[in-house]
């Protein structure tokens, strides 16, 4: 038997395969494709204090090897989450991480307190959403603001605190270091890469131009994520959860080899809605066939490579 389990602070995961925020809903929505409770964890859609309707206009644009989204954090808000979504997570025995986003420091504090009051075992701070006008992105790109935000959230939340980093920064190392010194238990990276899609139609002798500006995700951003994680793993000791274009077991192993302890699957859930469960099976099979008994052992070998 192989042991795929791991622990981030006191947060236990059956395996290192997690589904990424915004691509997997709030709880068991993928149950017609996957055994959702087999996953290491599900990260919920980004939750704000009040419900949000999101952005007007086209929200999705497919690009080579990925997609751009500008959803604008449409979500039901924390209260409906607690009333309607949380009971399903509990009933279905789904391990989950609550992803939270705010416009102000106070929003984050309040959300962290609510998470604590409800004994939610892990939260992921979205400080890096490129799709909302003010608020969370600003924290994510300014190391001092981020340090202060994470420190104060830390004071209000005792369980596992994960901070999700943006790749749209000048120094990944500086950002990661300040998050660690502010007391985070782990970081996850990367959020989407700022991007733009342009579509031109030539009609009646004139051009009609449609543009979609937002966050790029999917296979196309994997090299960006690999480089980001490689750099931050050299400067911080807290666990890193890798995100960015992960689709195959080979991708998972590559991210382990640059220092990730777990991975999140995002856009690939759209291409292959059963991918997350398949990756768990593939990982288990690989370990079994190659005599790795624990994830730690596998990750150690990969880090030495």
């Amino acid at each position: 038997m192989v042991d795929l389990s791991l622990k981030i602070k006191d947060f236990e995961l059956k395996n290192p395969i997690i589904t990424a925020s915004g691509t997997y809903g709030y709880n068991n929505e993928f149950d017609t494709f996957c055994e959702v409770n087999k996953l290491g964890a599900v990260v919920t859609k980004g939750i704000t204090l009040e419900p949000r309707l999101g952005n007007e206009g086209e929200r999705i644009f497919e690009t080579y090897g990925g997609m751009i989204n500008r959803i604008g954090l449409e979500n039901v808000g924390i209260h409906t989450f607690l009333e309607e979504k949380l009971p399903v997570l509990k009933k279905c025995d789904i391990n989950f991480i609550l992803n939270i986003a705010g416009n102000t420091v106070d929003d984050y504090i309040r959300l962290a307190q609510i998470a604590q009051e409800n004994d939610i075992k892990a939260i992921e701070l979205n400080v890096s959403c490129p799709n909302v006008k003010c608020g969370c992105i600003e924290f994510g790109v300014n190391k001092q603001a981020l340090y202060e935000l994470v420190s104060v959230v830390r004071k209000n939340y005792e369980n596992c605190l994960i901070v999700k980093l943006s790749p749209n920064v000048t120094s990944a190392e500086d950002i990661a270091t300040s998050v660690q010194s502010a007391g985070a238990d782990a970081v996850s990276a990367i959020n989407t890469v700022r991007g733009m899609g342009v579509k031109l139609d030539f009609i009646n002798g004139g051009f009609k131009k449609t543009t979609v500006s937002g966050g790029l995700s999917g296979k196309a951003i994997k090299p960006v994520a690999l480089s980001f994680i490689d750099r931050i793993s050299k400067v911080i000791d807290i666990p890193i959860i890798a995100i960015g274009g992960i689709c195959t077991l080979a991708d998972v192993l590559e991210f382990f080899s640059v220092g990730a302890k777990a991975v999140q699957i995002g856009t690939a859930n759209f291409t292959h809605p059963d991918i997350a469960e398949k990756l768990i099976n593939d990982l288990e099979k690989f370990m079994l066939e190659n005599n790795f008994s624990t994830i730690k052992e596998l990750q150690k070998k990969l880090m030495e490579a």
């Binding site: 915004g22 691509t23 997997y24 809903g25 709030y26 929505e29 993928f30 017609t32 494709f33 859609k45 309707l53 999101g54 086209e58 929200r59 999705i60 644009f61 497919e62 090897g65 990925g66 997609m67 989204n69 959803i71 449409e74 999917g218 296979k219 856009t267 859930n269 759209f270 291409t271 292959h272 809605p273 059963d274």
Partner: protein
């Protein structure tokens, strides 16, 4: 029941220039209703492509599609015997009611109405099927009750919208169902509302997840006096025409 299926192409035909009919069977897909759709994995692409069901019998799904970009290009190149991976059934359904129903399709929008017409005939509902196309060469062959083409090369000349009042007056439908490009849908829904005839419209939007989680495909609807978001992929694609905020 799991919703990811592996199917085999049974038939593929170019029925018009750039319009294809494809049939594929899968032992795991046993039922799909009119209005629901399938979402097909296309090699090399990130997002699956949604297509309405034009017919379904004996585990075999028929889809009619128009070649538009790389996804439909990929599907059009599949051969009999090739494998096809798809999610289904997705979305909601047309209501199958024993009412005098006017079906209005424009272009490739006629596809889901074929399956609906069949289901309505099975329960003995009277239907009148009106279709609009750009031209004769663009027309999809079927026993329609009324056809118009923009250039008049097949049936009546003009947009299907130009004839809507006349058709309503003569057929006196108790219900209207439409699938067509956005401007036509809007016109049909507003005309239906004017005549106080219940109307179902099948909408389109670029999709990512297909199951209501990513919020990429929302439209605005007005329900209980409140404007709210609805997903075309899960709450739709079939909507009450009077509730859509056009």
């Amino acid at each position: 029941m799991k919703k990811n299926h592996l199917g085999t192409i049974k038939n593929i035909q170019e029925i018009n220039k750039n319009v294809y009919s494809i049939e594929f069977s899968s032992p795991t897909l046993e039922k799909i209703s009119a209005g629901e759709y399938v979402s097909i994995l296309c090699d090399g692409l990130t997002l699956r492509r949604p297509f309405s069901v034009a017919n379904f019998e004996n585990n075999t799904t028929t889809v009619l599609f128009k070649k538009r970009g790389s996804g439909t290009e990929y599907i059009s190149n599949l051969k009999i015997g090739d494998k096809i991976e798809f999610s289904a059934p997705l979305g909601n359904t047309f209501k199958i009611e024993n009412k005098k129903t006017l079906l209005i399709g424009a272009g490739i929008g006629v596809a889901p109405l074929f399956y609906l017409e069949k289901k309505l005939e099975e329960i003995g509902a009277e239907t009148f099927f009106a279709a609009g196309f750009l031209s004769e060469s663009d027309s999809i062959k079927h026993e329609f009750d009324f056809v118009s083409t923009d250039d008049g090369s097949n049936g009546n000349k003009g947009s299907i919208c130009d004839y809507l009042e006349q058709i309503i007056k003569e057929f006196k439908p108790e219900k209207i169902v439409s699938c067509a490009p956005h401007p036509v849908l809007k016109f049909v829904a507003q005309t239906a509302q004017k005549h106080k005839i219940p109307c179902e419209v099948a909408m389109e939007k670029v999709m990512a997840c297909g199951i209501g989680v990513c919020r990429g495909c929302v439209i605005s609807i007005k329900k209980d006096g409140k404007i709210q978001n609805a997903t075309v992929c899960k709450d739709g694609p079939v909507f009450n025409g009077a509730e859509v905020v056009w």
